[in-house]
Symmetry: C2
């Protein structure tokens, strides 16, 4: 792995040289990990042609020394922004790239002041994200494992669904099972929504108890060796009424249409449109209140976005979710979500759980 980190740093340095950026301030934890293997919670990485320095506070210095190789570790004095600014000043200034979507207005003020007048600041987001978007074979192999793990946990959780059980208990069991299977934890707060609460796309698990014939949405993901998975299934504990069956069929068809649209070179907006078109055919498109999917990797939401009018085209190595849904206020919601890897010649669905409506 140490070689992979060094290779990624070199790829970034080439990108910076091509764009004539002298130094890049990397402030996003997933980006540090991707470039160095550092798993600490606070710090900033400064990547320049001359080398790579990690500035972090006392809590993480020993850890940074153990986890990284070929990276200079600098212990922060005062605020992080001031330490990064001072480091840049001592490095001689020049054109400094920063991520305007990560650095706050307050941090930027301190950075500019401490780095001094010789630094020229340019908003330069997305360099590391651009590299991260195209997963290496070893990354996809890891994501496949994370996706299979999430599917197994989901199938186990379905067996616990019985009238009387609480949303919170199911969520607790799901996250416990993930960890017992080797995950470092959930990729996001596990969603368990019963009955009307399934109409909230991002419902938090509550003390609500399951009643017979209610809808159940389970949306969960595991982090396995740093990589995320994300899967959703909707089931009925009892008998599904006709309209629920129809909604489920619509969402399932929308998801299939979107997955079938996934190919190298296709704009992400077309994948989104494919799902929306099917739901429009069922006159359910106005109940589909979010986008069709998102990139997945070290973060649970990353590039590319699979949303309306997104022009970004799919590339080999992209991993995205496909997760259309319909949400009818005061009645309930249905969502089906899988993780999909884009290869040069084929599309691979990483999550392996049947999609048909399950009545338990």
């Amino acid at each position: 792995m140490k070689t992979a980190f060094a290779q990624r740093r070199r790829a970034l340095q080439r990108l910076l040289a091509a764009e004539r950026v002298g130094s890049l301030v990397v402030t996003q934890p997933a980006n540090w990990y991707y470039l160095t293997g550092f798993t600490g919670e606070a710090g900033a990485l400064v990547v320049s042609r001359r080398g790579v320095a990690l500035i972090t506070d006392g809590r993480f210095v020993a850890q940074a020394r153990t986890e990284t190789s070929g990276v200079r570790i600098v212990q922060q004095t005062g605020s992080l922004a001031a330490s990064v600014g001072q480091f840049l000043k001592s490095a001689g200034g020049g054109k400094v790239g920063f991520d305007a979507s990560q650095i706050t207005v307050g941090q930027f003020r301190v950075l500019r002041k401490t780095a001094g007048g010789r630094a020229r600041w340019i908003a330069a987001a997305g360099y590391v994200e651009r590299l991260r978007r195209r997963k290496e074979a070893q990354e996809i192999a890891q994501m496949r494992k994370a996706a299979i793990l999430a599917g197994q946990v989901l199938e186990d959780a379905l067996k616990m669904l019985k009238p009387g059980v609480r949303e919170l208990e199911i969520a607790a069991e799901i996250e416990y099972q993930m960890r017992m299977r080797g995950a470092s934890g959930p990729a996001f707060e596990t969603i368990v929504a019963f009955g009307e609460r399934s109409a909230y796309p991002h419902a938090r698990a509550t003390a609500k108890r399951l009643r017979k014939n209610e809808l159940v949405v389970l949306d969960l993901g595991a982090i396995l060796a740093h990589y995320c998975s994300d899967i959703t299934r909707t089931v009925v504990v009892g008998r599904a009424p006709a309209r629920i069956r129809r909604w489920h069929r619509a969402v399932q068809e929308a998801q299939s249409a979107a997955i079938d649209t996934v190919h190298v070179g296709v704009p992400c907006g077309e994948v989104d449109a494919a799902a929306r078109r099917v739901l429009a055919g069922y006159r359910l498109d106005r109940y589909f209140v979010h986008s069709t999917g998102h990139g997945l990797g070290l973060e649970v939401h990353e590039d590319p976005r699979v949303a309306k009018a997104q022009k970004q085209t799919l590339e080999p190595g992209n991993v995205i979710t496909i997760e259309p849904g319909v949400y009818v206020p005061d009645v309930g919601g249905i969502r089906i979500e899988d993780d999909v890897a884009v290869h040069a010649e084929r599309t691979e669905v990483l999550t392996r759980v049947p999609r048909d409506l399950i009545e338990i």
Copy 2:
């Protein structure tokens, strides 16, 4: 509770009027919850003399309508920043406060552009945080429950510590038990560190197995009805060597000295200094690489900070952690942490677990 939310909004509106801020853009999820009860994951609140509006995307609109009362819900079109900007423009501009430690450089550009020239922007952080710092009696009652719950889970986890067990298993069990006792989840990633790994103050649980006579640091917190707890204990599974006993005694004395310093009117820096002084007496102060504590509430890190030279004085209703530690690279670390509520006439330790070195 709806009354409490409305009262807090009125208190904020009075504060804004006193400071002549026309509108405040509130971008921090814990702040939205504090003011409205909204638990969605994305959005922004605009508080002005005329009223309070919550701008959020399609995923959270139905949820916002159910969870809040007396708040106008506005569905976002386009990016959040653009929607907030347009809302402010239609509201007529004026002096607009924003939190420079929350809003990114990129968001601020869009906000300024869409809100138009009639808005005058001022960095105005901390209004809501200032209210949140002084917990109401009902908030402290809730935090007491969260602290007791965390202590119970910790004591249960100690019973699982046997040679051969893995860090990840203990972390999984801890988070499972929290939820089964009613917590909505952990307040942060549970820290379970065995042996040399205890020398990392923020170690993530790994697959490492416990060996006899190793140190174990457990640092965990639960979120119960939105409020956080945070507790740490260090134990030895087997017999502790003399130097470990000495380090533990030093940390325990440092913690007691810091807790004894907690009184209304005392600057937070003095509480930190009390812990450091004890460790210096043991010549261990250079191994104490972080600050003595932090405020606790809806967030696991909030005001006030209990760190070197902090001039902020303690007020009735503050809840803080007191958590000195020593971390000796390649050997191990010791930390003891409790949650403390500051009352007008007394100090209340909310966490209720013995602090003496436990040998299991």
